[in-house]
């Protein structure tokens, strides 16, 4: 893959990456025939951010056709550390750069960023090492919600300016003709903070299409990220959702790129939704079958085998039952690669380590752990520690040569 970002668009890409950096620590990069996607997911899987740059965003966008196979779903994927990417996009790039070129070859372990500066004919080449290749699939289609709102970034900014700076959640009560934004929901307000409520009429939105009156509660951090991005490029912010407890999409569109954040939400009026785990986004990561050279027959055999009973492999954890085939494949892959070329692929062995730990967990399930020792017993052990040592031997002091001195004395008498 080879693509060139012209100078005026470097600002967009750098702001976009800075926005992604506020969400997650890893960037998943997906290149398709006509678009480049950067995706990131936060640790608790409650926020997912994706930037999609269309072909027209680049001054040249070129992908080798032979790399787009059916096997990889016609996409080139790789994964990068956010920490390594972020320093490249600091400062006013659009003023300094003539262009930015991104190069990536499927077989290489590196992604190359070439930055051509306007002055002094400087060409800076950054080689960023890739993380083990994975693809991220999100089980949500953005923009599929039935409620649709579109607002200017300044409107949302004004609303947030009325909130406390330390607020981290927003609750939107959505009604047919208006919206009430609050920084609390009934019964959970913090007396040390100011409670805030802003009533917005439908007319303040460009699009106000509400089919389902609902209450949604979500984190403010992604919203703040979106607003600051939208303000720099004067974009409108779309909100798309079904209702509280279902994911909400924050969407920004431009003819050459679009950015959306999927945020998990709560419905404060519903019970049993208080934990974050129940609200996390349905996303899955898949390791790429890059080095897998197994014939179809083998694959079928692998599929039919009941791995749960196999002790030798023994790398089955509960989660793997869900994405059966793929996980088995990667286990098989990691196992074999581990065995065959341990030194070659460090990451692979890392993975198998993790699985081995899982196995240990499963085995230990039946063993009841010892009850903790009482403090008294501990003290005894401490004082008489020598007695508990396995090497204890009673000291041999030799034969008694002389009798008891007391009795000796009595004899003399």
């Amino acid at each position: 893959m080879n693509c060139i970002v012209p100078a005026q668009n470097t600002k967009v890409i750098s702001k976009a990456i800075n926005a992604l950096a506020k969400v997650g620590d890893e960037i998943y990069l997906e290149a398709k025939r006509d678009e480049l996607k950067l995706t990131t997911l936060n640790m608790s899987k409650t926020v997912c951010a994706q930037c999609c740059f269309f072909q027209s965003f680049f001054s040249s966008y070129d992908i080798k056709e032979n790399q787009l196979t059916e096997e990889n779903n016609e996409t080139i994927t790789c994964k990068l550390f956010m920490k390594s990417v972020l320093p490249l996009f600091k400062g006013n790039l659009e003023k300094k750069l003539e262009f930015l070129k991104i190069e990536f070859d499927m077989s290489s372990d590196f992604m190359i960023f070439k930055m051509k500066y306007k002055f002094d004919q400087i060409l800076m080449i950054h080689k960023l090492r890739l993380m083990d290749s994975e693809t991220l699939s999100i089980g949500i289609t953005p923009n599929s919600g039935i409620n649709n709102l579109l607002a200017s970034s300044s409107l949302l900014n004004q609303v947030l300016s009325m909130f406390n700076l330390s607020d981290n959640e927003i609750t939107l009560e959505i009604m047919n003709s208006r919206i009430i934004a609050r920084n609390y929901y009934t019964g959970t307000s913090n007396p040390k903070q100011m409670r805030c409520e802003v009533k917005l009429s439908a007319g303040e939105f460009f699009i106000f299409d509400v089919k389902n009156e609902t209450i949604v509660n979500f984190a403010l951090k992604p919203l703040r990220t979106v607003i600051s991005f939208a303000e720099t490029f004067n974009l409108q912010i779309g909100l798309n959702f079904d209702g509280g407890g279902k994911p909400l999409t924050l969407l920004m569109k431009n003819p050459t790129f679009q950015i959306y954040l999927i945020v998990s939400t709560l419905n404060p009026n519903k019970e049993g939704q208080s934990t974050m785990s129940s609200t996390s986004l349905p996303t899955t990561t898949q390791r790429n079958k890059k080095n897998l050279n197994i014939t179809i027959e083998d694959q079928q055999a692998l599929e039919n085998e009941n791995w749960d009973e196999d002790i030798q492999f023994g790398k089955i954890n509960e989660n793997s039952k869900k994405n059966n085939f793929v996980s088995i494949m990667k286990k098989a892959n990691s196992y074999s690669s581990n065995k065959e070329n341990q030194s070659e692929d460090l990451n692979e062995s890392d993975i198998s380590e993790v699985y081995r730990m899982d196995v240990d967990d499963n085995i230990d399930l039946d063993v009841i752990p010892k009850s903790p020792e009482s403090p008294r017993r501990k003290k005894i052990k401490l004082v008489f520690s020598r007695c508990y040592e396995p090497t204890i031997c009673v000291p041999n002091l030799g034969k008694e040569i002389n009798g008891n001195s007391d009795s000796n004395n009595s004899k003399i008498e």
Binding site: M162, N164, S189, M194, C196, E197, V198, K199, S201
Partner: protein, 293 residues
């Protein structure tokens, strides 16, 4: 207890915002005393010991409020005292920087007693947007009201008008880096002197020809080093007090008020009072006591 006030004059709202912002710079908490004629903001000394007002600000009701309803604790004591965070009030009224049509201040009970500020914004010509803020307040019971009585001092040795606060601020800021004590003195001829003394340097700045409001003649015995009275010119007769430079600076720089009259009153060796007045709109008194050695 009931309280509700409606503000709709933009000048009044701006002044109210400035006062709230200034208060937030003086202290974390403040007491609001609501009476039928005035609304008071009182900031007390945060140090332990008997509570003495440090800042006393009174706002006439008829200047700020278009509508005003008050039902106090009882018919006899038709007042309300409550305490709340100044930072939250300042944060809330900072919305008034935008185009606000009116501001309603109410005492409400939502889960806990709240001071509710309702602002009606007019972002565009036609539409309005409503913003409601609730700040938790603690109602002060009548037994504690005596802690917040207005301090009345009339016997100042000298009362002199202050020069422009901006100039003062610049000078005092630099003095603060060298010493923590500030000697404020004034004499009969309209001279205000701000002075710091350290082991290595004595620095004083003189402001001349300020108008003198009052001067108590002969109250202060001027003693020389041997303890004998000096019979010199009355020009030399000087009143001074040593105060905490940090607090002085806090008030000078915290004040966001424009074109108001500022007076400085000194009791020899006891205290300095700063008085600021915007006729008809606000009176602010700040009491800075002598720093013990």
């Amino acid at each position: 207890m009931k309280f509700r006030g409606l503000m709709s004059d933009s000048a009044a709202m701006r002044d109210f915002m400035n006062i709230a912002t200034s208060l937030s710079k003086f202290s974390k908490e403040c007491v609001m005393r609501i009476t039928s004629r005035n609304v008071y903001f009182i900031v007390c000394d945060e140090e332990s010991g008997p509570r003495r007002p440090l800042v006393w600000c009174d706002l006439p009701v008829n200047f700020y409020f278009k509508e005003y309803n008050l039902v106090g604790v009882s018919d006899r004591y038709n007042e309300i005292y409550m305490e709340f965070s100044t930072a939250l009030l300042a944060r809330s009224v900072s919305v008034l920087k935008q185009n606000v049509k009116n501001l309603k201040i109410k005492l409400t009970n939502k889960e806990f007693p709240c001071l509710t500020l309702e602002m009606e914004l007019v972002p565009e010509e036609i539409q309005t947007r409503q913003c409601v803020h609730d700040i938790k307040v603690d109602i002060i019971s009548r037994t504690h009201w005596s802690n917040y009585e207005e301090p009345r001092f009339n016997d100042f040795h000298v009362t002199i008008s202050m020069p422009h606060l901006k100039h003062l601020k610049n000078i005092v800021e630099r003095m603060k880096s060298m010493s923590h004590k500030l000697i404020v003195s004034a004499n009969k001829s309209g001279r205000l002197i701000l002075q710091i003394k350290t082991n290595t340097v004595t620095l004083s700045s003189h402001f001349l020809d300020l108008s003198l409001e009052s001067f108590a003649v002969g109250h202060i015995p001027n003693l020389n080093e041997d303890g004998e009275p000096i019979n010199e010119d009355e020009e030399q007769e000087i009143v001074s007090s040593t105060i905490d430079i940090k607090k002085f600076l806090m008030f000078i720089s915290g004040m966001q008020l424009n074109n108001c009259k500022a007076l400085c009153s000194i009791v020899q060796g006891k205290m300095v009072k700063l008085y600021m007045e915007q006729p008809g709109a606000m009176k602010l008194q700040i009491f800075l006591t002598q720093l013990s050695d």
